[in-house]
């Protein structure tokens, strides 16, 4: 392997991708430095997940341009070597998985195992540490498909830890979770990022969280890089209008000195509400 101490861990240069003639990503160019916390945002179908997966060499369709991981072009990586550095963390889905949490995490030591050899004590140790670190030790012997979404998401993050990856590529890690589990997952990501120098790249629809947690934000719109910069620069009505094509209401966060998005009412909703109130008032009489 070549020198991996390069400061730039992920890099795309004029990277394009199209599936069945339909362009998904158009000449995207950016760099992600080691230890950064990056959020990828943008409307549905903007190519966010495609971009994220590309960094784990999950290419679909025709690609052009350059994309490199730790300075090495994606084509030259051997997948089992890459797995020691980077891990894709999928959404907590409901797929059937007939393994216990512990069995599953031991399987994630794959890049370090050889066929026929029995598990090394170190593998058990690493997996145990990953379970302790993510708070999943309590259900180590439960079958994966009996877990709730929140528990499962934590196991998926434990998998990235067990794998020894220091680049985490997370696909909407908090989308289907309640506030408590959202909090847990975001704390785990922040902890790994701050304490263990993990480079976090997360696709998310939650711009508020993205702004609070990220060092920088990547915004995609129709496959193009619409914004790449620090959080304070994206939270402006005109920038957001350009990315989402929707006008959003911004207010200041009471503690962090950053603007936050709050839901806004459409004029129709306002009229409905007015009517409903009028009716309610009638009934009260």
């Amino acid at each position: 392997m070549r020198n991996l101490n390069t400061n730039i861990v992920l890099e795309a240069r004029k990277f394009s991708c199209s599936i069945a003639g339909k362009p998904i990503l158009r000449e995207v160019t950016f760099q992600i430095r080691r230890g950064e916390y990056i959020s990828i945002v943008g409307p549905n179908g903007a190519g966010k997940t495609t971009l994220l997966k590309a960094f784990d060499r999950m290419m679909r369709g025709e690609v052009s341009g350059e994309l490199s991981i730790c300075g090495i072009p994606w084509q030259e990586w051997k997948q089992s070597d890459l797995a020691k550095l980077a891990a894709f963390v999928p959404q907590a889905d409901s797929r059937v998985m007939p393994y216990t949490v512990e069995q599953f995490l031991l399987m994630c030591r794959y890049p370090y195992m050889s066929p026929f050899a029995s598990m090394h004590p170190n593998d058990h140790k690493v997996v145990r540490e990953a379970m302790v670190g993510t708070g999943t030790l309590g259900f180590a012997h439960r079958r994966m498909d009996t877990l709730s979404s929140g528990e499962r998401q934590k196991v998926y993050i434990a998998a990235a830890l067990a794998q020894g990856a220091h680049i985490w590529l997370l696909d909407e890690p908090t989308t289907f979770l309640d506030y408590h589990h959202q909090d847990e997952i975001l704390s785990l990501m922040a902890l790994a990022n701050k304490e263990f120098d993990v480079t976090v790249v997360a696709v998310t629809h939650d711009l508020n969280h993205a702004v609070l947690e990220s060092d920088r934000i990547i915004a995609l719109r129709e496959g193009e890089l619409a914004f790449y910069g620090t959080p304070d620069l994206i939270m402006k009505a005109d920038v957001l209008q350009k990315i989402y094509g929707a006008s959003l209401l911004l207010v200041d966060h009471p503690k962090a000195k950053l603007p936050m998005i709050i839901p806004r009412m459409t004029p129709e909703q306002d009229k409905e509400l007015a009517k409903w109130r009028a009716k309610a008032r009638e009934k009260m009489k």
């Binding site: 997966k53 784990d56 894709f88 797929r95 007939p98 393994y99 994630c108 794959y110 026929f116 794998q163």
Partner: protein
């Protein structure tokens, strides 16, 4: 289940494997001595009458070995496809291999091909090619597009019907003798095994196929969790799938060419083993190999003994295995999602 510790988890499957190994060895040793003609044990090293030695060495031992090889290969293939497609119904046979092989054999019978290659009849070679071609068809479908396993199974069923109707068409065209030969071939069975030659033909295919699958048990575990997941854990998914398809097509092709379509073992044996030993392929694979082989040896022995004139073994496996499998499904339903 929830309270089991790591050590117990690792010890228990070891014992299951030892029990299955005992079962397989017992079946291999006892089965050659079962039959209408009783044979002294000493016939193994040439004791007893010459006729008895001949029956043991020229008829029964090759047949029992063949049954074991075929059972192991079919169970291995079934387990592999079930893991790869993440579907409990996916086996080479549910995806159209038996009909592909049968069509190959039917064509060879209809056109009266009589050439032989390395001691293999034209019918066997045509059946081998038919089986391999239908697996290649499945492979192309999975490689080209990201079809769901449901689509794959539906396509397999469609291919089966298409091939079957072509066989019926050939039967319609052919005379009575040929038509009967086709029908008898489709039933499958091990009566035709009369020498070690057949065993040696199948042996290299089955051994190399099984070794490939055994070498890839860690990958099979991860494929069970999903292809993208496996890829992100470092599995070269494309290469692994190609190897597995190659191994399965060689094994199934060779077995089907000699024994005809005896498919039920491939669907059932892996499921029974999952219920016994769990889903970790490092344990599941050896269990499936041993159990599949032993199961077919036992079924074939029953087929030899029970009815005068010998029943095709495919009928016995389905008659015995079907109800047993249903019983397992009904009693332990929650564990059977692959």
């Amino acid at each position: 289940m929830a309270s089991e510790g790591t050590r117990e988890d690792e010890v228990a499957p070891g014992w299951t494997i030892i029990v299955l190994l005992g079962l397989a060895l017992t079946a291999l040793v006892v089965a050659p001595y079962c039959g209408r003609q009783s044979i002294p044990f000493a016939a193994l090293w040439g004791g007893g009458e010459p006729g008895q030695v001949d029956i043991l060495w020229k008829l029964r031992i090759p047949r029992v070995l063949m049954a074991f090889l075929a059972g192991s290969a079919l169970a291995t293939s079934g387990m592999t496809f079930q893991a790869m497609f993440r579907n409990p119904l996916a086996t080479p046979f549910t995806l159209g291999v038996s009909s592909g092989a049968s069509l190959g054999a039917a064509i060879a019978i209809q056109f009266g091909w009589t050439f032989a290659l390395w001691g293999l009849s034209a019918t066997s070679i045509a059946a081998f090619l038919g089986a391999v071609a239908s697996i290649a068809l499945v492979y192309l479908m999975t490689a080209r597009s990201r079809n769901s396993s449901t689509t794959m199974l539906l396509a397999g069923v469609a291919v089966s019907f298409f091939f079957s109707s072509m066989i019926l068409f050939l039967q319609y065209l052919s005379d009575f003798t040929r038509s009967f030969r086709m029908l008898r071939w489709v039933m499958g069975g091990l009566e035709g095994i009369v020498s070690f030659e057949d065993v040696w033909h199948v042996f290299p295919f089955v051994v190399s196929g099984c070794l490939i699958v055994w070498y890839l048990t860690l990958e099979l575990n991860l494929l069970t969790t999903g292809e993208e997941f496996a890829f992100s854990r470092g599995v070269s998914v494309g290469q692994t799938k190609w190897l597995l398809f190659f191994a399965v097509s060689m094994m199934v092709g060779a077995v089907v060419a000699i024994c005809g379509p005896i498919g039920f073992v491939g669907l059932m044996a892996p499921h029974i083993c999952r219920l016994m030993i769990g889903y970790d392929h490092r344990w599941l694979y050896p269990a499936t190999f041993l159990f599949g082989g032993a199961l077919l040896v036992i079924c074939d022995t029953i087929a030899r003994i029970v009815i005068v004139g010998e029943l095709p073994v495919g009928i016995v496996t389905a008659l015995l295995g079907g109800p047993f499998f249903l019983w397992l499904l009904l009693t332990r339903q929650e564990d059977l999602d692959a």
